[in-house]
C-alpha cells in the first residue's frame, strides 16, 4: 500500500529556555485510506509532531515524506502549495477568520488553489457544510457561532480541497458525544469511500479504539 505520509528519524529540540529534546527519533507512516490516531499524555509532544507533519514547522532533524516524495528542505512557497493542496489541518483550538462568513472561511483555501470556478467552489463548500450539518450557518459571521460549530467549520475547511491527508489536533475536543460520533463517522466514511488518510490526535479512548491503528506516544518517543 502507498504511504501518504512518512517520517524517518525525526528529532526536534526546543532551545529556549533550556535545551529540550521534545521529539526523539520519530519513525511513523500513514498509508493511503488509513485512519490513524495518536494518543499520549499531555505535553508528550503530539502537537509538536503534528506541526512538523503539517510542514509549518521546518526546524527539525530527519526526513519527512509526502506521497513518497521528500519534503524536508523545500522552500516556503512549495511548502505553502503542499499545505494548500494536499494537507487539511484541524487545529486543537478552532481557528477561523472571524470577520468572514462561515461559507467564505470554507471557500478560502479553494480560492487560493484556484483550480475550480467560483460556482464550483461554492457548491463544494455547501456540500461539506451539509455533511457536517452546519449548512444553515453558511452566511453567519464566523465570530458569531458556538465553539463546537466553529470546530465543524474548521473540518469543512480542511476537506474543501480534497486533500491527501487530514491532520487533526483533537478535532473533536469541543464536541458533545453526538457530534463527536458524527465527525468520527464522516472521517471513517471519507477514508473508506474516497481513500482519504487521517492522522488524528485524541484523548478520547473510545474514539481512538474505533480507528484503524493507534500510535502511542510518551515523552517524545513512539511506544508502538
Amino acid at each position: 500500500m502507498k504511504k501518504v505520509l512518512e517520517t524517518k528519524h525525526v528529532h526536534k529540540y526546543f532551545r529556549k529556555p533550556v535545551l529540550f529534546h521534545v521529539l526523539k527519533d520519530i519513525n511513523i507512516d500513514v498509508k493511503k485510506g488509513e485512519f490513524v490516531s495518536i494518543m499520549g499524555k499531555s505535553g508528550c509532544g503530539k502537537s509538536t509532531l503534528l506541526y512538523i507533519l503539517s510542514t509549518m514547522d521546518t526546524d527539525y532533524e530527519g526526513e519527512l515524506f509526502l506521497n513518497e516524495e521528500l519534503i524536508t528542505g523545500q522552500n516556503n512557497d512549495v511548502l505553502s502549495y503542499i499545505r494548500n493542496k494536499h494537507i487539511g489541518f484541524v487545529f486543537q483550538f478552532h481557528y477561523l477568520l472571524s470577520e468572514f462568513s462561515v461559507l467564505e472561511n470554507v471557500m478560502l483555501p479553494a480560492k487560493k488553489l484556484a483550480e475550480k470556478s467560483l460556482e464550483e467552489i461554492e457548491y463544494d463548500a455547501m456540500q461539506k457544510l451539509k455533511i457536517l450539518e452546519i449548512d444553515k450557518l453558511a452566511q453567519k459571521r464566523a465570530s458569531r457561532i458556538s465553539g463546537g460549530e466553529k470546530q465543524r467549520v474548521a473540518i469543512a475547511r480542511a476537506l474543501i480541497n480534497n486533500p491527501a491527508i487530514i491532520l487533526g489536533d483533537e478535532p473533536t475536543g469541543n464536541l458533545d458525544s453526538y457530534n463527536s460520533d458524527n465527525v468520527f463517522e464522516i472521517f471513517k466514511q471519507l477514508s473508506i469511500d474516497q481513500g482519504l488518510s487521517l492522522l488524528v490526535v485524541t484523548h478520547d479512548i473510545d474514539f481512538a479504539d474505533r480507528t484503524d491503528r493507534i500510535i502511542e506516544m510518551s515523552d517524545g518517543e513512539i511506544l508502538y
Partner: protein, 420 residues
C-alpha cells in the same frame, strides 16, 4: 503564483472592519495631496502670471545698435606695431547713429528662420510731451500695433482704446497712463509732441496703456512706426530696435550670439535680461515641494502606524492563512494592497479636494494696479501636477506599507497557533 482576487478580497474585508482607523490614515494622505495640489497650482499660477507679465511683453531676443567704443582701435590695424605694447588714451565711441543699418533685410532674414515666430521693428525716440504750459520728457516708440499684439500680447496693457484704434489712425498715440494722469489728458484729447530738435507735432490720443511698472508708464507712449519716422524726419528704413519672438525660448541665447556675430549688432536674450526673475520662481517651487513632502511624510507615518496595529490585531488571521496554504508573499501582498488602497483612495480624494480648492482660489478677486488684465487670483491646473500628486501618494504609501507587510510575511504560524 498570486491570486489577486482572493488577496484583494481579504485586504478589503480587513480595511472595512477597521473603517475608522483606515479612513483616518487615508485622510492623512488626502491632506498631503490636497495641500500639494492646491499649493502647486496656486504657486505655479503666480509664477506663470509673473512670467506672462515679464516674459510675454519682453522679446526673446532684443536686437539694437549700442553706442560703444570700437573693440578694435585703429592702432591695432597698423602692421608695424603688431608685436608691440600699445597704450591708447581717452577712447571715445565713434560718432554713429542708433539706427540699425540694413534693418529691413535683417528682419526679412530673421522672419525666414523656422524657429522665429516673428521679428518686428521698433523706432525709439526721445521726445517731450507738451500740453498747455507743461513740458514733460518721455519716450515715444513707433510700433506696428497689430504685430505687437500678436507676438507680445500688447493689447493686455491697453486700458482704454485698442491696438486697432492706433493702427487705423496715422496721427494717433497710445499714451502711458502715468503721463496721461500727470497732464490730465484722456482718450480723444490732443497732445503735442516735441522732438529734441524742437519741432512740434499734434497727436490724437486713441488709447491709454499701463504696463504695471510705474517708471515706464510715466514716460512711455506708443504710436505707429511711420508716425515716428515722420516726426523724426527719417525714411522708412530708419529702425532702432528689432524684437524677436521664438517658438522655442530655450534657443534664445544661442541665437542672440549668432545675430551679434553675423550682423555686428547688440542682441540680448530674455534669460540674460531677466536672470533674477528666475531665482524667485525657483524659490517658490522649493517652498511648494518642501511643504507637500512634509505633509506626505506625516501621512506616511500614519499609514505605517495603522498597518502595524492592524497586523498585530490580525496575527490569528495571518497564522490561519499561512496554515491553509497562503504563502508569506501572499500575506505580504494582502497588507501591501491595504497600504496602497489607503494611498489610492486618500490620494484621489486629495486630488479632488485640491482641484476644488484651486478652482475656488481662482474665483477669489485679486485686483491690482500693476496687473490690469488680472481680475482673480491665478491658478495653473496642469494635469502633470495631478499625475505627480497621485504618484507621490502611491510611493509614500508603498514605503509606509513595506516594513509592516514584511513583518507579516515573516510571522511564524506555529508560534501563533501554540500561543492560544
Amino acid at each position: 503564483m498570486t491570486n489577486w482576487k482572493v488577496i484583494l478580497n481579504i485586504a478589503k474585508t480587513h480595511l472595512l472592519t477597521k473603517f475608522k482607523q483606515t479612513s483616518t490614515a487615508a485622510l492623512g494622505v488626502t491632506f498631503g495631496i490636497g495641500a500639494y495640489i492646491t499649493l502647486v497650482c496656486f504657486m505655479t499660477g503666480l509664477n506663470k502670471m509673473l512670467d506672462d507679465l515679464i516674459l510675454d511683453q519682453t522679446p526673446h531676443i532684443h536686437v539694437y545698435n549700442e553706442i560703444e567704443p570700437s573693440k578694435q582701435q585703429p592702432v591695432d590695424l597698423y602692421e608695424e606695431f603688431k608685436n608691440s605694447f600699445k597704450v591708447v588714451h581717452s577712447i571715445k565711441p565713434k560718432l554713429s547713429q542708433s539706427k540699425i543699418h540694413n534693418a529691413l533685410p535683417i528682419i526679412k532674414y530673421l522672419n525666414e528662420d523656422k524657429n522665429v515666430r516673428g521679428a518686428i521693428p521698433q523706432v525709439k525716440s526721445q521726445i517731450f510731451y507738451i500740453a498747455g504750459s507743461i513740458e514733460l520728457g518721455g519716450n515715444l516708440t513707433g510700433i506696428i500695433p497689430l504685430e505687437e499684439a500678436r507676438l507680445f500680447n500688447f493689447q493686455n496693457y491697453i486700458i482704454k482704446g485698442s491696438t486697432t484704434d492706433l493702427h487705423k489712425n496715422d496721427n494717433g498715440i497710445l499714451l502711458g497712463a502715468g503721463v496721461a494722469k500727470k497732464m490730465s489728458l484722456d482718450v480723444g484729447d490732443r497732445v503735442q509732441i516735441s522732438t529734441i530738435d524742437g519741432e512740434i507735432f499734434p497727436l490724437k490720443i486713441v488709447g491709454l496703456f499701463q504696463s504695471g511698472i510705474a517708471d515706464i508708464d510715466n514716460i512711455q507712449s506708443f504710436t505707429n512706426l511711420k508716425t515716428v519716422q515722420r516726426i523724426l524726419g527719417e525714411s522708412d528704413n530708419y529702425i532702432t530696435d528689432i524684437n524677436v519672438k521664438l517658438h522655442d525660448m530655450s534657443s534664445a541665447f544661442q541665437m542672440s550670439q549668432d545675430i551679434e556675430k553675423q550682423f555686428k549688432l547688440k542682441a540680448i536674450d530674455v534669460e540674460t535680461a531677466n536672470a533674477q526673475f528666475q531665482t524667485g520662481m525657483t524659490i517658490r517651487n522649493m517652498i511648494t515641494y518642501a511643504v507637500s513632502i512634509t505633509l506626505l511624510i506625516v501621512a506616511g507615518f500614519g499609514i505605517y502606524n495603522i498597518l502595524n496595529m492592524l497586523i498585530y490585531e490580525k496575527m490569528n488571521d495571518i497564522a490561519i492563512l499561512k496554515a491553509t496554504g497562503f504563502s508569506g508573499k501572499d500575506v505580504q501582498m494582502i497588507f501591501m494592497s491595504q497600504a496602497l488602497i489607503i494611498g489610492i483612495v486618500g490620494g484621489v480624494l486629495g486630488l479632488i479636494i485640491g482641484y476644488g480648492l484651486a478652482n475656488y482660489i481662482n474665483t477669489l478677486p485679486f485686483e491690482t494696479e500693476a496687473l490690469p488684465t488680472i481680475k482673480t487670483l491665478p491658478v495653473n491646473l496642469n494635469p502633470m501636477f495631478f499625475i505627480i500628486g497621485i504618484s507621490f501618494a502611491l510611493i509614500s504609501t508603498f514605503f509606509a506599507g513595506y516594513l509592516p507587510s514584511k513583518k507579516a510575511k515573516k510571522i511564524d504560524p506555529v508560534r501563533i497557533i501554540r500561543g492560544q
